[in-house]
């Protein structure tokens, strides 16, 4: 089987394969440091179970910000009965005190930059 322009195509395919696979072989041998978010000491339960928060805290924040601003409901009754203030700065960050030690741990690991902090103020020492 003759491949026309084979002299150009085959090296081209090899180069493309190298480029596409570089994320895998670039970090060969180096173990990435897993994220270690610092959990609050006194409080054990968040507004929802940890498994839910891990998978869906983005959706929760998205829904909550509309409920607070547009419908003016600012208190949430958690499944464990406790009442929480629905506020990033005055609610979530009251327990998870440091953005750098908590939020950024996983976000930096995954190279995600949520734009919450363009407006919401993070505690100064930990910006």
């Amino acid at each position: 089987m003759k491949i026309y322009d084979g002299r150009k195509i085959i090296p081209g395919i090899l180069i493309a394969a190298v480029i596409f696979s570089f994320p895998f072989w670039l970090n060969f041998g180096k173990a990435a440091v897993p994220p270690k978010p610092k959990l609050p000491k006194e409080v054990k339960n968040c507004v929802e179970p940890t498994t839910f928060m891990r998978t869906s805290h983005m959706q929760l924040l998205n829904e909550w910000r509309d409920i607070v601003v547009r419908e003016n409901f600012r208190l949430f009754a958690a499944p464990d009965g406790k009442e929480h203030l629905m506020s990033l700065q005055n609610g979530c960050l009251k327990c998870h005190e440091s953005k750098a030690d908590f939020c950024d741990q996983c976000h930096n690991y995954l190279d995600i930059k949520p734009y919450c902090w363009d407006c919401h103020l993070a505690p100064k020492e930990n910006k």
Partner: protein, 261 residues
């Protein structure tokens, strides 16, 4: 005949699959309203929030000490940036001379008492707000209690509301406001570049039972906030017993800031 019905089968099958895939979305929408969200018991509720400003009381204080308490209170707790350039400034509450605040009430023989006098101006939280009418995303919207709110999460920065507002109440973030915030209030967010902002009648304070910051800060008691839907509220009584004016009354926007002059 056979080919046509096979094609039809595939078409119907495809559309059904598409329809079924929408089901999860419907169930999410159906299950959205949970009784778990509520308002604080202390929250102030009303049918038509309004403010009556007795300028005479304000001017008394101005004569004595050049008071700016209401302006500073609002701008500090809301992280309003202080930008020197008047083309880019952001202001939620400020003063304008009588001729500028009420251009249709100003003429040669305007009372000497009123000439050049500063009037406190802010968003009028109109009952018929043209800004709400024009917003393409409902980022600015009118609440049931009359407050004209800003949803900074949704604003796309088209500035149509700024064109529509007859009172010049709205400011736009032409750049990042943070470098210009003198002292950040950690309990309230800032805004980001590219969104429009204005007085929000301290909705976050109303929700926990507090009066707007400007009202609370005024030591002369010139600013009175209340519910016009309640005939016994202080504002209702003030409006019944005083002659008041409001800005650009002939435009049909029904502003809810009244001035006793």
């Amino acid at each position: 005949m056979m080919e046509k019905s096979r094609r039809d089968f595939l078409k119907i099958g495809g559309i059904s699959a598409l329809g079924l895939s929408a089901l999860p979305a419907l169930s999410v929408l159906a299950g959205k309203k949970q009784p778990a969200f509520k308002l604080s018991d202390k929250a102030l509720e009303g049918k038509r929030w309004a403010m009556v400003i007795d300028m005479k009381k304000c001017w008394e204080k101005q004569k004595k000490e050049g008071c700016k308490d209401c302006l500073l209170a609002c701008h500090s707790i809301h992280n309003v940036p202080e930008i020197d350039n008047p083309k880019r400034e952001i202001k939620w509450i400020w003063t304008e001379p009588y001729e500028n605040a009420f251009p249709n009430l100003e003429y040669e023989y305007t009372k000497e008492v009123l000439k050049d006098k500063p009037f406190i101006v802010m968003c009028n939280h109109c009952s018929k707000p043209p800004c709400v009418r024009v917003c393409p995303t409902k980022a600015t919207f009118q609440r049931k209690d009359g407050v004209v709110m800003m949803d900074f999460h949704r604003c796309i920065g088209c500035r149509y509301c700024m064109a529509a507002c007859p009172y010049g109440s709205r400011s736009f973030n032409w750049g990042d406001p943070r470098p210009y915030i003198k002292k950040e209030n950690m309990e309230f967010p800032t805004r980001t570049k590219g969104v429009v902002e204005k007085c929000n009648f301290c909705a976050e304070r109303l929700a926990v039972g507090l009066k707007p910051a400007c009202v609370e800060a005024c030591k002369a008691g010139a600013l009175v906030f209340g519910d016009l839907g309640d005939p016994n509220s202080e504002v209702s009584k003030l409006l019944k017993s005083n002659y008041t004016i409001r800005r650009k009354n002939d435009l049909g926007t029904e502003p809810n800031i009244f001035y006793i002059i």
